[in-house]
């Protein structure tokens, strides 16, 4: 079988890493694309893969199977659209689109054309979080009422000049860069929240964007979640995302390394989970892929995308555009709530209860 031709567009931090993994994939012939600059200079003299400097020119001149878009977030929507219109499968870095109206439109376009369309929310490929999702879906801890989603890390530690990652209009900032990950996991577990309240997008060192995020998210048929994220925290070596859930039958905790479950009573169909604590490690929950660069999850998401394209699938297995659109919407709700101070979305009013007369010791 001939190799798939895949172009990686944007050679920044994520783009370089995607390019390295895709270029090493046995089923792929990789191409790179980035505007003129240091990386293009250096790589064009040192690697054998062709590098295009102009995206439109590349789309016009090259027969491709798929593109991987890893440009600054503002450029995602137009680049994804151009690729879909050429009939190419698309893997787009997160966040998907800064305006969720674009996200919805592109989701529909990809579906209409029957293309594999995936977004790089790699946390869904971390074994411990995937296990958490499986446990939630199996009803392991009963009705979940209490959720705490967090992410911390050392990105902006002092006042500094801006890059696109720290420019809000470009899709930078702690909300888009960091909070997007735990939010995407909450969307996976519970869907788009019905209401967002109590949001705070705070600045610590940055001038033009947020360095910390708090928010309260409500699902009418699900839990209430609190989000706490900060990228100006040097006590963490790198980004650390974690989720705590409490339900009527116990508690779940997951981070990149492990999934800890406490069940009050065992649940039918969940092998190996007795009452009390059960701990599963990401190391035992993941399998090796063709190439390892920074963690199995990065390889796994690209491998699934590539295999879906190779096998002629018409949609992504995981992280399809529709699911990333949920996260784009959730982030917009948080921004609107933080800017106006008004609740965004409707929480269904609790069923009215007849007023009860209570005495001090009445039950």
């Amino acid at each position: 079988m001939s190799k798939l031709k895949i172009a990686v567009v944007g050679l920044g931090k994520m783009g370089l890493s995607h390019f390295a993994m895709v270029n090493a994939h046995p089923d792929v012939e990789a191409i790179a694309c980035d505007g003129a600059g240091f990386m293009v200079d250096v790589l064009s003299k040192n690697i054998s893969a062709p590098i295009y400097k102009d995206y439109d020119e590349m789309l016009a001149q090259t027969v491709l199977d798929a593109v991987i878009i890893a440009t600054p977030s503002r450029l995602h929507a137009p680049m994804v659209e151009a690729a879909l219109n050429k009939g190419l499968h698309v893997f787009c870095e997160k966040p998907f689109c800064l305006d969720w109206v674009d996200s919805e439109r592109l989701t529909a376009l990809a579906a209409e054309k029957g293309l594999v369309a995936q977004v790089g929310y790699h946390y869904r490929y971390v074994g411990a979080f995937a296990e958490m999702q499986r446990l939630i879906a199996a009803g392991a801890i009963g009705r979940i009422t209490h959720v705490l989603a967090e992410a911390y890390g050392p990105v902006v530690l002092r006042p500094k000049r801006t890059t696109w990652r720290t420019d809000k209009s470009e899709g930078g900032g702690c909300l888009y860069d960091y909070a997007a990950h735990p939010l995407n996991l909450l969307n996976w577990f519970f869907g788009t929240p019905d209401q967002v309240i109590g949001s705070h997008l705070g600045q610590v060192f940055s001038e033009s964007t947020d360095d910390e995020v708090f928010s309260t998210l409500r699902w009418n048929d699900g839990p209430t979640a609190q989000l706490s994220v900060n990228w100006s925290d040097e006590s963490h070596r790198k980004m650390s995302a974690k989720i705590n859930l409490i339900g009527t039958n116990g508690r779940l905790f997951a981070d990149r390394q492990e999934c800890q479950a406490f069940l009050r009573k065992p649940v039918e169909g969940l092998e190996g989970y007795g009452p009390g604590w059960t701990v599963k490690y990401t190391t035992e929950l993941t399998e090796d892929r063709w190439f390892y660069l920074r963690g199995e999850e990065y390889s796994a998401q690209l491998d699934e995308f590539i295999l879906a394209v190779r096998d002629g699938k018409t949609a992504a297995t995981q992280n399809g555009f529709a699911s990333a659109t949920e996260t784009d919407k959730t982030m917009r709700m948080i921004i609107d709530n933080a800017e106006t101070g008004q609740p965004v979305g409707e929480a269904r009013a609790a069923a009215p209860q007849a007023a009860k007369k209570r005495s001090w010791f009445g039950r």
Partner: protein
């Protein structure tokens, strides 16, 4: 190479199983005294090689070792460069070129080359690479550092991109300027070995996961065994216990029977674990370590 090398993950809050344990270790080892205490235990047990990241904290360890030449007569470092998070965080903060400029001596010709006014010449790229290597090596001046590794994230990024000429630049520079053996850490050993050979680098020292259960042996367990049996690689095995999944005795016994494995690198913070691993290596891999 010694048969047993002491690693440094435990000192920097790196634990593949638990962030809680990682933080507890980061707390315990934030003072260099605590690090030295463990290194002394290892040294006195006869483990004389410290394979370590070029983390800022290691500079303090190097200073201690230099300060007591009699106490640490046989102490040697195997530096592993670069400390990747330092660069990754800088790239997020400053962008690619901005980050590089951060690490370049200011005002120099290479810093000027990075202003982006003109395309970088191949020679300038080589120059920048050498300056970066020299910056990382600075802390080891005056110590014994006979083997120098590239960290796996960098090795594998270059390998994946097909930028294998960089290995040649590293190889030549480490030999010529430091009189040391260049070496490579990778998560993709069979693929790296082929790439190095294509670049004319024969029988390289490669450190990779090698363990009985094939944990994080990307490229496949069988290809690792083939590469080892072929005699084309001088292997250093890491993750021999597969993060605790394999009992120590069984793990070391299995490794000892593999051809091509010249050394094991392991990290530990208790005297019990240090002496335990040392005893097993003596038992199965024989002779003085």
């Amino acid at each position: 190479m010694d048969k047993l090398l002491f690693g440094d993950n435990q000192f920097f809050g790196i634990n593949h199983m638990s962030e809680e344990k990682a933080r507890a270790q980061a707390m315990r080892f934030q003072r260099t005294d605590a690090v030295m205490q463990v290194l002394d235990t290892a040294y006195d047990a006869g483990i004389h090689t410290f394979m370590c990241t070029t983390h800022d904290r290691i500079a303090e360890v190097a200073d201690r070792v230099k300060a007591e030449p009699a106490r640490y007569a046989d102490f040697q470092f195997y530096p592993c460069m670069p400390y990747a998070h330092k660069y990754a965080n800088a790239v997020t903060e400053h962008g690619m070129v901005g980050a590089l400029r951060e690490f370049m001596p200011s005002g120099g010709l290479l810093a000027t080359a990075l202003t982006g006014a003109t395309a970088l010449a191949t020679k300038e790229v080589e120059g920048i690479a050498k300056v970066l290597i020299d910056m990382e090596m600075k802390m080891f001046a005056g110590t014994k550092a006979p083997v120098v590794f590239i960290q796996n994230v960098f090795t594998d990024l270059l390998l994946g991109m097909g930028f294998t000429r960089a290995f040649r630049i590293f190889d030549d520079h480490i030999r010529e300027k430091y009189g040391a053996e260049p070496a490579y850490i990778t998560m993709n050993m069979p693929m790296l070995l082929e790439a190095l050979e294509r670049g004319g680098i024969e029988r390289p020292i490669i450190c990779s996961n090698i363990n009985k259960i094939g944990f994080r042996m990307s490229g496949g367990f069988d290809s690792y065994l083939e590469a080892l049996q072929s005699g084309r690689v001088r292997a250093v095995a890491m993750s021999v216990y597969a993060s605790g999944a394999i009992p120590a005795d069984e793990a070391i016994h299995w490794i000892s029977e593999l051809p091509g494995v010249e050394a094991i690198v392991f990290g530990a913070s208790s005297a019990g674990n240090i002496n335990g691993t040392k005893a097993l290596v003596d038992k199965y891999m024989g002779g003085p370590v």
